[in-house]
Symmetry: D2
Subunit: 165 residues, 4 copies
């Protein structure tokens, strides 16, 4: 039976300390819920912190790597999907996630939020980046959910999963 998979997307090397702390906490809470964590899989920023958080709670972590081998993979990734297709893999990240959480913002993350909207996936934005909130809510009124803490983000994800059934 297919497991519920929650994507946590965010900056790699450009992640702030707050982004990384939020990502770690998101990973922890996702694992506590029994959901699988999906990230971009690399050993940097939000991807790495979220995966590390999930492992603290013995969660299962999936990393969708842009590279053609597993160099640069986060130590906290259990299942490595090696795509060899660069940032085109961002579309796989969002298609494979039941809900996408964007933790922080950057060009890669923006592409994932936009691709998620294009695929009709709900997106929870966990950021205080004002321009992101205005932009993405201008693109979609009903698929973008704003929040300010990992706990609130997870409550939103839970509601979205429940509403879907």
């Amino acid at each position: 039976m297919r497991k519920i998979m929650i994507g946590v997307m965010g900056p790699g090397t450009g992640a702030s300390e707050t982004d990384r702390q939020n990502a770690f906490e998101l990973g922890r809470l996702i694992a506590q819920k029994g959901w699988v964590l999906l990230t971009g899989g690399r050993d940097a920023g939000v991807m790495d912190a979220a995966s590390a958080g999930a492992k603290v709670e013995n969660g299962l972590t999936v990393g969708i790597l842009p590279t053609a081998d597993d160099r640069g993979i986060s130590d906290a990734v259990d299942i490595a999907i090696i795509t060899g297709m660069g940032n085109a893999r961002n579309n796989i990240n969002v298609l494979s996630s039941d809900v996408v959480i964007a933790c922080g913002m950057g060009a890669g993350t923006a592409s994932e939020v936009a691709l998620a909207l294009k695929a009709n996936k709900p997106v929870v934005l966990l950021t205080d980046h004002q321009e992101s909130k205005l932009f993405f809510t201008s693109l979609s009124k009903d698929k973008i959910f704003l929040t300010t803490s990992p706990e609130a983000a997870i409550r939103l994800v839970n509601e979205l999963l429940t509403a879907r059934r």
Copy 2:
């Protein structure tokens, strides 16, 4: 010898009348310059209008289709690249363009602008959508160029191509 290729990205069915008029004019001017036009190839909105504009001037038009066959292709596309990979093809659109012009805005277009920034490509934004301008200039100070007319957009593209040499 590889020809210069300029990508024109924008909404499909969601394009406004202004978007379509701008796209048609962009296609016309790109062909006049002797550049190849690249679009998402479908028979809708900005893609279709830009390709039609280029054909008026006997330009060469390339369409990178999301579908696995050529159903839904614009009549004005000469070279159909059939990817069968949905919106993951948006990354190919930007990697293959020397400069990307975003004409109007939507979720698909936003993903292309973001992927272009991720790939370090210059992007000319031709839109009066205020949230887009603020958001993308907040992501990148030096790769986003704002403009308000097709003519000004083409002048910018020309300068960007010249500066690169």
Copy 3:
């Protein structure tokens, strides 16, 4: 820590009864070894039988789907990677597998064996299809391993994994 993942590739609706029995047994043995099973994820043929076999032993099953949603997924897949990129996903199947086992033969399976060789991955061929054996050994002397039973295939995989370390 990244888990070892073994890919089992083979025909979907074109699978023979022997192919399906072999695939089921391969899935069972892969799970017994504690490896993760990777397949093409669909509810047909070798993919479905291998995943079902792994679940009998409480193994973990990953399915890399060609589709843009999870329609047509095998009930025995735990982790669904939804690529929306058709058979281009075959390259992800082989890049993500530590060793590829081809169980039976068809056009899709042939593309996976060929892509695996291109990526320098070892491939175990479990088939009595004579033309396949001659063809693939003519393409590669040292990456193709012929075998006639699931048990022998798993022994080969084990040796290949050990030799790699």
Copy 4:
């Protein structure tokens, strides 16, 4: 109006002198017919020779590159499609070709022939590699066409295009 595009696939650095001569002649004849040539785009083997042949007759050449930029591109490619997705681009090669000609054989070429069959595309095999002929005709009775000269290959392509209409 979409132009007819003929794909010529074959080994890169592993191409034989005969493969390269055949590829050059195929490119020349494809251009003479007014068809667009599609190849894998790299500066090696069959891709490079076919593109060079087409340019002798002022044909139009499209190269679908595996890389994320245009390093390693053949000088004889006019339109560079930069995929950044490695050998997953082989599926785009075959989906975008009206007919695929395999000139010589290797692991990459084998993946393209197999993906073409999977996509129901006709494939002309121009090779004296006996194992290839036996293998691919065993996979498909009605989509594989064997031939021994570039001229005969082009006659076959012409018949296939005519029959399709």
